[in-house]
């Protein structure tokens, strides 16, 4: 899960017109208007993607780029897609919703790519998916999971994560409500970042908890410029909740936890929507001894037991270096977008947009982020993994079928 929603500056980037590609497509007799070449040709399979390679989104944009490139490399090493070499045409949108429209329009009408994949963030996915829809292109997208994406009710869109972003924490509610009634928390506190991708995660959990009789004793939303979380945590501590749910991004989650340690407040259950699910950053931010027992939710992480994950990690490190815990889940999500395309091609023997749209709307599809299926609007029908820091490692603890270990509750005391 990667739910950042920030804004960056716009800077247009020019790219060459795909004259050669157009000629190749013309020669192969493709239908330029729909951009769906026949499956039988041996021309390269051109995939167009707009990503935020500069500006504020750049770190996530580049993570997506690495995932796409790695998938293309792996696919090409095994003979491409239906024998066609994969060629990625990645252009920069600098996080601008205007630029992303220009980019996809150009990729489809000028460069005449065969397929498009999605950009980073819901902000950009909404306008980009409309362009793709207008030209009859499928839109497999790894990083636009906000309600605005699915409210469009587009038939061509497929979000490559287990559930819509605002339902990322539902798996924590599922776990808590799976406990016998006498072992459940009686009271809950909710501290929510005022951000369309953070507060709704906690809202969704709160709704479920309240319906199950878990009393809300603290419920506050804080603005994104809140640097010091200590007064907020002082308020939470005074309310003495059994469970604390943080509707957070990364920085505020770390600040909440540091404040809890300093105020010596240790709830029995602690869930953070983002931040605690980062095996690379979380231990460094709060010190590794203080991670124990903290819950989070995620779709992919380095110790994920999903099939193909180990190969993805070794390929990734071989190509880009670094260590497994530093791999951004966005890379795995982008890689999974490629996997879906490959699976459709293998299953149908075709790789045109109409086939992709029709095929993905039925059945379920294994990826690095779980086995996916979608409703008519492209909203995934699964759930995230509930992860918890157990014995110094981030481990899946729920749902039981994918769990690596049992959830630890109550949470051990802070190490200080």
């Amino acid at each position: 899960m990667h739910l950042h929603q920030r804004r960056g500056l716009s800077r247009a980037r020019l790219w060459g017109v795909g004259v050669l590609a157009a000629s190749a497509l013309a020669l192969s007799g493709c239908a330029a208007a729909s951009g769906t070449p026949s499956a039988s040709n041996s021309a390269p399979l051109k995939i167009g993607i707009s990503l935020s390679l500069t500006g504020d989104f750049s770190s996530s944009g580049k993570a997506a780029q690495r995932g796409y490139q790695l998938w293309a490399d792996v696919a090409n090493k095994s003979g491409g897609v239906l024998g066609r070499k994969v060629e990625l045409d990645i252009v920069d949108d600098a996080s601008s919703p205007d630029q992303v429209v220009t980019n996809y329009t150009n990729l489809i009408t000028q460069t005449k790519v065969d397929i498009v994949f999605g950009p980073f963030s819901s902000l950009l996915t909404v306008p980009a998916s409309r362009v793709a829809s207008r030209y009859g292109y499928s839109f497999i997208e790894p990083a636009g999971g906000g309600p605005s994406v699915f409210d469009q009710k587009l038939n061509n869109l497929f979000f490559v994560q287990p559930a819509e972003s605002t339902r990322g924490g539902d798996v924590f509610a599922n776990y808590i409500l799976s406990l016998p009634a006498d072992q459940r928390p009686k009271t809950a506190a909710y501290a929510k970042l005022d951000d369309p991708f953070s507060a709704p995660i906690a809202d969704s959990i709160q709704k479920r908890f309240e319906a199950a009789g878990i009393k809300t004793v603290y419920n506050q939303t804080y603005p994104s410029e809140t640097a010091d979380m200590t007064p907020i945590v002082a308020g939470i501590a005074a309310a003495k909740p059994d469970v604390v749910v943080g509707g957070t991004q990364e920085g505020d989650a770390f600040a909440q936890i540091k404040a809890m340690i300093q105020l010596k407040f240790n709830p029995k259950w602690l869930y953070e929507a983002n931040g605690s699910n980062s095996p690379g950053d979380f231990p460094a931010a709060v010190s590794s001894a203080n991670t124990e027992g903290v819950f989070g939710s995620i779709d992919w992480y380095a110790d994920s037991t999903v099939s193909g994950s180990a190969k993805f990690i070794s390929d990734y490190i071989a190509k880009f270096g670094g260590d497994a815990n530093q791999i951004d889940p966005t890379s795995a999500e982008a890689y999974s977008a490629g996997m879906l395309l490959q699976e459709v091609a293998t299953k149908t023997g075709k790789v045109d947009n109409a086939t992709i749209i029709k095929t993905l709307h039925s059945g379920s599809w294994p990826t690095l982020v779980g086995t996916l299926s979608w409703d008519a609007t492209g909203k995934p029908k699964g759930e995230y993994l509930l992860v918890q820091w157990v014995n110094g490692k981030l481990q899946t603890v729920y749902p039981a079928k994918t769990a690596q270990t049992s959830p630890v509750a109550p949470k051990p005391n802070w190490a200080g």
Binding site: S58, D228, G251
Partner: protein, 292 residues
């Protein structure tokens, strides 16, 4: 009641750090009539310097103040000499806004390029330690940050009250023309004053990096707080900015803990508006402006 007292303790300790940042801001205004928009960026720059010293060389963040403060003093003097001194004195108030804004953006750009835009914080082994005093938690870092602020402010006070340079500064603040007629070198005082302002930002930056996660863009929130503190205290009054910073710290903390975090900063602005309506020069503007 427990939460209220805890919030007041937190507010006072945090306010101390803001007092340190704002004292430099108000000093620069007092001497040069320059609203230094880059003060927040100086704080963030110092936080990154402290981070590098800690991560690369293992220098304790509190000890690094001894390195960052003189370094930023020199940087401040250099910047004043290079960027503000050439401005024509008639337009200095307006032009300096643009120059310091450009400086602020420049510092942010360099930091973004060097450190990336992801959030960082300085995490020494004692970062999360706190003492329990009568049932209330007093964070070690906040406590020593507060003590450091008091020490730096005391040094600043002594420099201004007991040294020849301090007299020259106070004379310049009260009446620049008379000070020059009496032989005060206004350019020198301005350069040293800007250096001192940057130096206070440096000492505050070292502790700011331990209290909060920060990135190169953190200066936007800082500068808006600093400007309100300085205006509330009375532009040019160091004592006023200390009081205003403490008022802001306590008001934000208490409202955040007892009412709602959404209203925490807003409450402070209400106080600011009321003070400005009743005393347009700020809390201490009229009485002590000339005396710093």
């Amino acid at each position: 009641m427990h939460a209220l007292i805890q919030a007041i303790i937190l507010g006072i300790l945090t306010g101390g750090v803001y007092a340190l940042m704002a004292s430099g801001q108000t000093l620069i205004f007092g001497i040069m009539k320059v609203v230094n928009l880059a003060q927040g960026a100086f704080v963030v720059l110092a936080a990154y310097l402290t981070y590098t010293l800690f991560v690369q060389f293992g220098v304790d963040p509190f000890a690094s103040v001894l390195i960052t403060t003189p370094l930023m003093f020199l940087v401040g003097m250099g910047l004043q000499w290079a960027l503000l001194r050439p401005l024509h004195s008639d337009d200095v108030a307006q032009l300096s806004l643009l120059v310091t804004f450009a400086l602020e953006l420049g510092v942010e750009g360099i930091l973004s390029f060097t450190y990336s835009t992801t959030l960082t914080n300085i995490q020494p082994s004692y970062a999360n330690f706190s003492w329990t005093v009568f049932g209330f938690q007093v964070s070690l870092v906040r406590f020593f940050a507060f003590v450091l602020s008091l020490v730096v402010l005391a040094v600043l006070y002594l420099v201004l009250k007991r040294t020849k340079f301090g007299r020259a500064v106070r004379a310049t603040v009260q009446n620049p023309m008379s000070a020059q007629l009496l032989g005060v070198n206004a350019q020198r005082v301005s350069a040293l004053g800007f250096g001192l302002g940057a130096a206070t930002a440096a000492s505050a930056g070292s502790v700011f990096g331990m209290l909060n996660a920060f990135n190169p863009g953190s200066h936007y929130d800082l500068i808006s707080r600093l400007l309100t503190v300085v205006v509330l205290g009375g532009l040019g009054s160091i004592g006023g900015s200390v009081v205003a910073a403490l008022v802001m710290g306590v008001a934000s903390s208490v409202v955040s803990a007892e009412a709602s975090p959404i209203w925490s900063d807003f409450t402070f602005f209400i106080v600011l508006l009321l003070v400005l309506l009743l005393r347009p020069r700020g809390l201490f503007g009229a009485r002590t402006r000339g005396a710093l």
